[in-house]
């Protein structure tokens, strides 16, 4: 390799030359033995170099999410990012959960939809403070949207914050919002194989809730098959089967939230995660 005319690589430069101009070697001579695959030496072809980057593409969101997490932890607020397909019962479940937790935990909600404040109005009936985010054409919530929405809540008065994400099982999976727990809903009307169809979101779940459990017979929903599929894609997740309509399963779910909030309050915000 030549280290005088620049056609070779000097140590420490993370670059590989993959094509360069025919050039003059001045007062020294050497052959063109290159340590890389053969390539053309057409005149006019630009010399190239590889720049190693290794950047997380969502670094900015991840950083803001960590900032949100620290902000919530320091105030003792347990934050849940709730994801599901449209129409799987997020709003009804949250409304019923808030009513039951009422005397025990003060709960707020941030709800994301492309348009309308219908969900916010439904949730306000439960007595909780609610902030609606309209994302326009954006198919998911990002950490920065949550940070802005939180300013409209009296966070110091809250124990629990639900973030109801945009109804979508794909895009929200990629975005950390700074939540403590990611909750993924699967309603019995959607079929047992939903976890197999959407692996990324289920692999990222801390909690999976089978919702609308009272409709299982009407939908020929096979609970055993659903449990097996959830185990394939989300063995790390805590599983609940809930009917917000009949109330079945809601007590276990609310007890779990109270326990998690207690555990969060015991944590030192400055201790490493």
């Amino acid at each position: 390799m030549c280290d005088q005319c620049g056609c070779g690589l000097s140590a420490g430069i993370p670059a590989t030359v993959s094509g360069h101009d025919p050039h003059d070697h001045g007062d020294h001579e050497h052959g063109h033995e290159h340590p890389h695959p053969p390539h053309s030496h057409e005149p006019g072809e630009q010399a190239r170099q590889t720049v190693e980057l290794r950047h997380a593409i969502l670094e900015q969101n991840d950083r803001l999410a960590e900032r949100n997490r620290g902000y919530f932890l320091a105030r003792g607020v347990l934050v849940l990012n709730v994801l599901s397909s449209p129409g799987s019962g997020k709003t009804t479940l949250l409304g019923e959960t808030i009513r039951r937790l009422g005397p025990r935990l003060k709960t707020g909600v941030i709800v994301g939809d492309l348009a309308t404040d219908n969900d916010a109005r439904r949730l306000r009936d439960s007595g909780a403070p609610v902030v609606q985010i309209n994302t326009g054409t954006v198919c998911h919530l990002e950490a920065e949207m949550v940070a802005r929405a939180v300013r409209q809540l009296d966070i110091a008065r809250l124990d629990l914050l639900f973030i109801e994400n945009v109804g979508n099982l794909v895009c929200p999976a990629s975005y950390d919002l700074g939540e403590d727990l990611r909750v993924v809903l699967l309603s019995v009307t959607e079929g047992e194989d939903k976890p197999l169809k959407y692996p990324p979101v289920f692999h990222s779940a801390n909690v999976v809730i089978v919702s609308k459990a009272d409709l299982d017979r009407a939908c020929d929903f096979n609970r055993e098959a659903a449990r097996a599929n959830i185990r394939h894609m989300a063995p790390q997740a805590r599983l609940f089967e809930i009917s917000a309509k009949t109330g079945a399963g809601l007590d276990d779910w609310c007890d779990y939230l109270i326990q998690r909030h207690e555990a969060l309050k015991q944590r030192d915000p400055l201790a490493p995660a």
Binding site: A15, Q49, V51, L53, R54, I57, H203
Partner: protein, 115 residues
Amino acid sequence: MHEYSIMQSALNQALQQARLAGAARVHEIRLRIGVLSGVVPDALQFAFEALRPGTAAAGAVLTIEEVPARFWCATCRREFVSANLYSECPDCQNPSGELRAGRELELSAMEVDHV
């Protein structure tokens, strides 16, 4: 279609780094995308075609390396790659709750004019 905004940030980061390096043109952008990242490589390619005109990467190609899902089995004390994305260890059949690779969304490298 969150691939569009993800491709936009990857391209912006690459163009910024090219400027810092003093390179006038970007010839190739390389990404590492995990199969459990929730991002579809074809949709990234499609977004890249739409985003690159008028930038220093107008003539660049986008190369995507897919990163497979790799789990840790605590029973067998070894990692395994899961092609069907199931979390069960192929040897002991116990499900693994520990995903070690497969969520990457990384701008790994680029090729620019030699400067």
